[in-house]
Symmetry: C2
Subunit: 333 residues, 2 copies
């Protein structure tokens, strides 16, 4: 495993930021062609002929090909892991190892993009020694560009430090998960199987939402429940401090790598979604990228009673107390 110098990392960061800008522009241009706002006659006829899903697949593939070409030209020795390049779920192995690796989702929030709901983005991360060091997330229809590099800070639109409230960073609420904004996703697995993932998720959501004292003492009375349909943007908003808690299962590496880089650089915590048996005392470890089970807590400052980290761990345990184990493993594992 080779070391990366400060200068090299700076250069890689600048390259990643520019790549995120270019790819985001491609994504937005493709959206505008669909809206009929721009584009050549040929492009407009193409849009008329194809259905929305085929068009989106084409955009997805084109942007990934562009990003891959830029990366492999500039850094031929680096590994490339892209959503479109991997047949989803084909590998039984963790995709990320010690090699310097780029992990890319050319379009996260695909359903949103199909329907032109603005919560979609390009997501690019650079990983070294299994640690996401650089994250770039560009949500062009929101005009929101998130970026971070290890030890250089995390930013919205390159100038605004994350979390947004940072002077000082507020502690987590003393009664968390109450007073917290809870972000979660319904996902694609909608099988109506008793005790299957969908029903375990719903039971968990309802526990988090219900009044304190309800649900046999599990009611969390969160301040709000939000579902955006983009794991990447969920993580970006946790890094921003806008969401206090994000809990999800089933994501792949490219869905979360850039978001994890940005969240951790902003001071957030990310661990496993599935509560350990001794949830009140088990050690809280950083999640392994690729585990498919994630619980993220926003950056937090100290209160008179505890450090920021203590508040985050208390919140993790408050969530673990209320959620079910989800059944997502790596295929074949």
């Amino acid at each position: 495993m080779s070391e990366i110098s400060k200068e090299e990392l700076d250069e890689i960061y600048a390259f990643a930021v520019q790549l995120g800008k270019d790819a985001g522009e491609m994504l937005m241009d493709a959206a505008k062609v669909r809206m009929g706002d721009v584009g050549t006659q040929e492009q407009k006829e193409h849009v008329q002929k194809e259905n929305a899903v085929d068009l989106v697949t084409e955009t997805d593939e084109n942007i990934e090909a562009f990003i891959k070409k830029q990366i492999t030209t500039k850094y031929p020795s680096h590994k490339f892991v892209g959503e479109e390049s991997y047949s989803k779920g084909a590998s039984r192995h963790y995709l990320i190892d010690d090699t310097p690796t780029w992990c890319v989702d050319p379009l996260d929030g695909t359903v949103n993009y199909i329907h032109l709901f603005p919560m979609f983005c390009v997501s690019i991360s650079f990983i070294h020694a299994s640690k996401p060091l650089i994250g770039v997330i560009n949500a062009p229809f929101l005009n929101q560009f998130f970026s971070s590099c290890a030890d250089r800070g995390a930013f919205l639109n390159e100038t605004q430090p994350l979390p947004l409230l940072h002077n000082p960073i507020p502690p987590l609420p003393a009664n968390a998960p109450s007073s917290c904004v809870f972000s979660c996703e319904w996902g694609k697995d909608r099988r109506d199987t008793p005790d299957g993932n969908m029903h375990r998720k719903i039971e968990s959501f309802v526990n988090m939402a219900a009044e304190v004292g309800g649900r046999d003492g599990r009611g969390g009375m969160v301040h709000g429940v939000r579902s955006l349909g983009s794991a990447t943007l969920d993580l970006a908003y946790v890094a921003m401090g806008a969401f206090d808690i994000w809990w999800e299962g089933g994501c792949w590496e490219w869905d979360v790598a850039a978001g994890i880089a940005i969240l951790q650089e902003a001071g957030g915590l990310i661990t496993t979604a599935n509560p350990p048996e001794d949830y009140a005392r088990a050690p809280i470890e950083d999640v392994r990228l690729g585990s498919r089970l994630y619980l993220a807590i926003r950056p937090a400052g100290p209160s008179p009673a505890e450090t920021g980290r203590e508040g985050q761990e208390r919140t993790v345990r408050g969530v673990w107390q209320r959620v079910r184990n989800l059944d997502y493993s790596r295929p074949g594992a």
Copy 2:
């Protein structure tokens, strides 16, 4: 009831648009002061002293006072209904009558604003003869400004016609609610009462989400479930075509009036959330503003099999088949 001329309405529209811009700027400035980005020393010290909820209440009241002053100065004969001016739920009467009326929410998505999640907005509508004629929604942190005036079209950022996909407007999916994006909110009523509103909502959400064939045949297998925490922006995204369906109970007039104006001008349909007994055949009527129960369907073009309106009505019935009646009445009514 006085008539309003075309010229008068044009003037009122221009006034409402400018008012939405000014109020949105006030809202974003207050957010920036909280982030520590701008503001005088005095303002920054004030932010340090107050807690987030008090600050937000103050911003809410300041913006409503500003809007009210502008309106009552310019149009002293018009009625003003603002969220902050009314003690919520105090009136047993419908707030909107035949008088020319401004219905204003200075800050919709209050929880989002407290946490600085970008889904918050100013909402201004002008209503005449009980019909919302003008709608202005400004979500300044998203750089999204929605506006409409009767017979003059509905727009995003003043130039982009709504719905976004308009050349042609796509029909609703043949298998709706499957393939649809379904927007819904958990709301504030989290009482863990058997068959209470929270549990009726959850049962309805799960029916809409579950696989086709699941839930004793009620599974709707929607394409995605979204929860933003802002009724106003939910309606704006239905008008945009980004959400196909929005279903909600409990909103007040100021939460929905501007969104309804924009949705209807864009070609969307809005009726009641609560399924009539004969849901498959009952007439589908425009909702009464103030009923607190809303089901919105996006603008739709024709397919070879049906008109756009037929597709919308088919979708309404597909939702009614899967949702429970909610128990929200006007206080005292």
